[in-house]
């Protein structure tokens, strides 16, 4: 025989614990932040240390438009989740689609920037320390955008095929945490690479 302690609780307090999805995503964000910190530190450490050009000043241009797209996608995603919570599936789908489009514009912008850097300016990851740190940091961020975008597209497909209702609002909350994180990282990458680094 074994005993399980069950002592009656006079106060009968409600026993509410934080949600595991949110906590899990928070942990993932902390771990990811640490990875980004290391890449950002490497970028700052090697700023101006490269032997030979091209230098950031010569080749980098401020990606203002794509930045605005990415940052506003946080807002559209937020509205999508708000819509879902109110059971407005149409609004959810529309805002989510807008988010996906904005994210895709950002990625296309990065792709065009890289194309220009590689084929016009002759800067690759092998060229110098600037190339090494630039492509790895921006590339790491772009990888995260791609992952986030794939998940958003999956959610959009579920939404369009009618598999989403307000019960899933919570899952979308967790997913949007990730997307907001990716956007927040871009603010730091943007500041370091395009503002301080130039």
């Amino acid at each position: 025989m074994s005993t399980i302690p069950i002592t009656p609780d006079p106060a009968d307090e409600p026993w509410v614990l934080p949600d595991r999805g949110t906590i899990g995503m928070a942990c993932l964000i902390i771990a990811e932040s640490a990875i980004f910190v290391i890449f950002v530190v490497a970028y700052i450490f090697y700023m101006g240390q490269g032997l030979g050009g091209p230098t950031p000043k010569q080749v980098l241009e401020l990606p203002i438009f794509t930045t605005i797209c990415l940052l506003s996608s946080s807002l559209t995603l937020h509205w999508a989740v708000v819509g879902l919570r109110k059971s407005k599936i149409g609004a959810f789908n529309a805002w989510l689609a807008a988010t996906v489009v904005l994210g895709a514009i950002f990625l296309i912008g990065t792709g065009m920037e890289w194309y220009h850097l590689i084929y016009v300016d002759g800067l690759t990851i092998q060229t110098n320390l600037f190339g090494t740190t630039f492509y790895s940091l921006v590339g790491l961020h772009a990888t995260h955008v791609i992952v986030g975008l794939l998940m958003l597209i999956a959610a959009l497909i579920f939404g369009l095929t009618g598999h989403v209702d307000e019960k899933h609002a919570h899952r979308m909350d967790v997913l949007s945490l990730y997307w907001h994180f990716v956007d927040a990282v871009w603010v730091i990458v943007f500041t370091v690479v395009y503002v301080l680094g130039r």
């Binding site: 399980i4 614990l17 993932l28 771990a31």
Partner: protein, 565 residues
């Protein structure tokens, strides 16, 4: 509900009869284990896997000790010796230390907080298999290190793999790639498991188990797992950079193109030093559970223990550069890291003193788990004191990179962590298998281990003080190193014998051990309230707790713990 006069004094016991399963075919059993998402099975797989690597890493240590037993020995070539210490270090840290502690965490945390499983069971299985694959990759380098025609190569860059030794030009072939990949994968596994443990501890506690009522083990696993996010991620990032360097031709650590060797050191030790605490905090966790039970007293100063653990977690993130006192940092940086390193001895001291106070006034039973815990207390004390010596930067200029350092960190990793892991085995084996481990073999194991350990690691300090650097495959006679190296080597063999006795004890007791019952140690935490081994659902009814020691409350209804908390 039974009588309920005060409402608090009554407890209910629920009968749980474990269900006997019919015997299964071998393939069915295998399928069960490979596809399981049960935290207990995954925990046991972690433990089994790290025990295999413990034996492999041990063999590598023995090879090194045979080579160093006498000067100018030619037992192995320098190349083989260099591979041995690289594999030994990497294996012991990444494929023994981390997985075995995660294994215990996986097994124990849900049971001790009254949960049915981890927060994310499928992530749990994923993390395990990806770590296991990492370990496999490390040793695959023996086959694929320089292509199939050059079989037999293995990483030889040292476990901290200082740049630019890892650059393609200095480490051609693929063995370093296997090293990088295996650590990258095990890092992903570690982060996954850590995330799972944090989410479990925060979100899966049974009713009544407030944070200040959690068993200290759960607290320490919470702290250690949180540290994994901040410590292991930088290593993952650095490994990505290294792989970019080796495969794509970037220049992070390429000295020819202006890359910095120092940057790798920083990145590695930002991981490397907290890693020591990631490994030692679970050992503290075991001590926090075992010492009170075998002293028959509640842990002394529970809030101080929690505060000290959290404090160690934070401070340990700011001490990494004490591994770099000799790389030519400025005086200011050296002074800072001396201070941060020394200050960590304060919370560590609090822990030792609290254990001492827990023992004080108790009724100590010296069963095997307690014997190993006692060994841990003394050895951890010495490890802490040699740590203070190393934190004094000028003293460290002499000691770093010498055998003194090797002795110091083995005092932590073997004398403290491995001893507590053994204690945990003896303590929780009955819970996991339903059978006791042999006390007689346990005593043999303990005493041989103590003798072997002290022969090896006490005497290993001395050649360091006499100027013997680490990682040398041979040495000149006439510097006063010979006798100490011989004693160290003899001690290593004794430790190996002790470990084999332990493995035999595990296997033998699994089949032939005395039946344990649910609560063989008369303990107080929730895992002892369910059957041994626990059913797959852990608890038939979700427990409700009111104090830190729920089973104490049941056993002593006249004087329950909640009156004192």
């Amino acid at each position: 509900m039974a009588d309920s006069v005060s409402g608090l004094s009554s407890v209910e016991a629920i009968d749980l009869t474990p269900v006997e399963k019919p015997r299964q075919l071998f393939l069915e059993v295998l399928y069960d284990w490979v596809t399981t998402v049960d935290h207990k099975k995954i925990g046991l797989m972690y433990i089994a896997y790290s025990l295999i690597f413990l034996v492999i890493g041990g063999i590598e240590a023995i090879v090194m000790r045979i080579q160093l037993a006498v000067p100018h020995n030619t037992f192995v070539s320098p190349q083989v010796f260099n591979r041995m210490f690289t594999l030994h270090g990497t294996t012991m840290v990444f494929f023994v230390g981390m997985p075995i502690l995660f294994g215990f965490g996986n097994y124990l945390v849900p049971l001790m907080i009254g949960a049915r499983d981890m927060a994310f069971p499928r992530l749990n299985a994923f993390s395990f298999w990806i770590s296991a694959f990492g370990g496999f990759l490390l040793y695959y380098s023996f086959i694929g290190g320089s292509g199939l025609y050059g079989a037999g190569s293995a990483p030889d860059v040292g476990w901290f793999a200082y740049a630019p030794l890892t650059a393609r030009v200095f480490s051609p072939g693929h063995s370093t790639d296997y090293w990088t990949l295996s650590i990258l994968l095990s890092g992903i596994g570690s982060i996954g498991t850590a995330l799972n443990i944090v989410a479990t501890v925060i979100c899966m506690r049974c009713p009544g188990m407030k944070l200040n009522r959690m068993p200290l083990l759960a607290w320490l696993y919470l702290v250690t797992s949180s540290m994994v996010f901040i410590a292991v991620s930088p290593l993952t990032a650095a490994q990505i950079m290294l792989m970019l360097d080796r495969y794509v031709g970037s220049h992070f650590f390429d000295a020819q193109a202006g890359g910095s060797a120092i940057l790798w050191m920083h990145f590695f030790w930002i991981f490397g030093h907290p890693e020591v605490y990631i490994l030692v905090l679970p050992a503290f966790a075991f001590a926090n559970e075992i010492i009170p039970v075998f002293s028959r007293k509640a842990i002394f100063g529970y809030p101080a223990m929690v505060a000290a653990s959290v404090g160690i977690g934070f401070i340990s993130l700011s001490v990494w550069a004490h591994h770099m006192f000799a790389v030519g940092m400025g005086a200011g940086a050296n002074v800072f890291f001396v201070f941060s390193t020394m200050i960590i001895s304060v919370p560590t001291g609090i822990k030792i003193f609290n254990w001492l106070a827990t023992i004080w006034g108790g009724k100590i039973r010296f069963a095997s788990p307690m014997l190993f815990s006692v060994g841990f207390l003394f050895q951890f004390l010495v490890a802490g004191l040699t740590g203070i010596m190393l934190s004094v930067a000028p003293f460290d200029w002499q000691l770093t990179g010498s055998y003194f350092v090797v002795a110091h960190f083995h005092y932590v990793l073997v004398g403290a962590i491995l001893f507590m892991i053994f204690a945990a085995f003896y303590y929780w084996f009955p819970k996991a298998t339903g059978r006791m481990m042999s006390e007689r073999l346990g005593k043999w194991h303990f005493w041989l281990m103590v003798i072997g350990f002290h022969l090896t690691f006490d005497f290993m300090h001395i050649p360091g003080l006499l100027g013997m650097p680490r990682r040398i495959y041979t040495y000149e006679p006439g510097r006063g190193w010979e006798i100490w190296n011989l004693l160290v080597s003899i001690g290593a063999v004794i430790q190996a014998i002790a470990t084999l006795i332990f493995v035999y004890n595990l296997v033998h007791s699994y089949y032939k051990g005395e039946k344990a019952g649910n609560d063989p140690w008369d303990a107080w935490t929730l895992e002892w309230s369910t059957a041994s081994p626990p059913p797959s659902y852990n608890f038939a009814t979700t427990p409700i707790v009111h104090s830190r020691r729920p089973l104490w409350d049941i056993k002593h209804p006249e004087d329950p713990d909640w009156n004192y908390e």
